[in-house]
Every structure is written in structure tokens, then in C-alpha cells.
Symmetry: C2
Subunit: 66 residues, 2 copies
Amino acid sequence: MKNRIKEYRKQNKITQDDLARAVDVTRQTIISLENGKYNASLMLAHKIAVYFKVKIEDIFIFEEEE
Amino acid sequence: MKNRIKEYRKQNKITQDDLARAVDVTRQTIISLENGKYNASLMLAHKIAVYFKVKIEDIFIFEEEE
DNA sequence: TAAAAATGTAAAGTGCACTATACATTTAAG
DNA sequence: CTTAAATGTATAGTGCACTTTACATTTTTA
């Protein structure tokens, strides 16, 4: 699964730290998500989508699966 | 976070076992989700939404959070 | 009403999502 | 060019999402 967190973050001109605080996780978590270390939880995906005012599916890209 | 998995499953008249196989998890996982033991991962939420042909937000209800 | 099908409970184990802390590297700005 | 801000790397630890197996209870159907 891929995501467009970095894209949306750049568009909104905010820092990783800003986003982390906004969705209540650590900066490490944002870095890990942006760099594809692992996937977000459903709850975090939702918070990020709400923050950017888009749908979960707009940020998280589900491809080659089931 | 709540979810409407059981509702959608009943509407589609399929069993927990059927759904479990369809989204490639164990029956235990479906039971646990339906009974609110824990939340689905983003990937599983997506598979379930695709299976029922609806959006993630139609099945998973995010309320009192951030 | 008895057997089968569906649902639920229990419990131990694995891996990943996320935290926390510390430091190193890159980018931006005076 | 030098400092500060932003981004990244590393590592150890915690809890939860999910598995597996086994059995118990409820619901459905012949």
C-alpha cells in the first residue's frame, strides 16, 4: 500500500512535526509512513484524511490486493 | 470506533466464514471485529469495503476522536 | 427434536503500528 | 558561510491486529 501523505503535506505547506501534532502521533510515525516503513492504522488514516479534508482513499492507495 | 460489518453481512446474507474467506482473514478476526474487540487494519477495512462495494467510511464509524 | 450449521469464547503466539530518545544529515535563511 | 529548522536513521520497548486450535453455545433445518 502506498500513500500520498508527503504530497498533501507539501501542498498544505506544513512540516512533519506540524502534521504529527495535528493527528496526535509522533514525528517518527509520520516519517515512517511517508517513507513506506509501514502502513497507518485505520484510525490514523482517518485522522489524516480529516486533517487534509479528503477521503481515506484519496491519500492511501490500495493496489495489488484481493 | 464502531463498524457495521454485521449489518452489511446480514444484508448480503453471507456467513462470518464466507466473509472471512472473501477478505482472507480467519473467522476469529471477523467475530472480533463484529463484537468490537478491536479495530480492523486499514488494509482489512479496505478489503471489506471493496467486498461490500461501499466506502470505508460507510462501514467504519469514526466518532468522538480528534 | 436431533443433527448440522453458525456463532461465540478462550488462550497462547507473532508481527507490525506507534512511542520515545538520541543523534546525524539535509535544507533553508540570515 | 554559518546557524537553525526540517528531515532522516537507529534502536529498544509496548500494545494491538490477526492467527491458530480447541471447544462451547446458539440457531437453523431436516
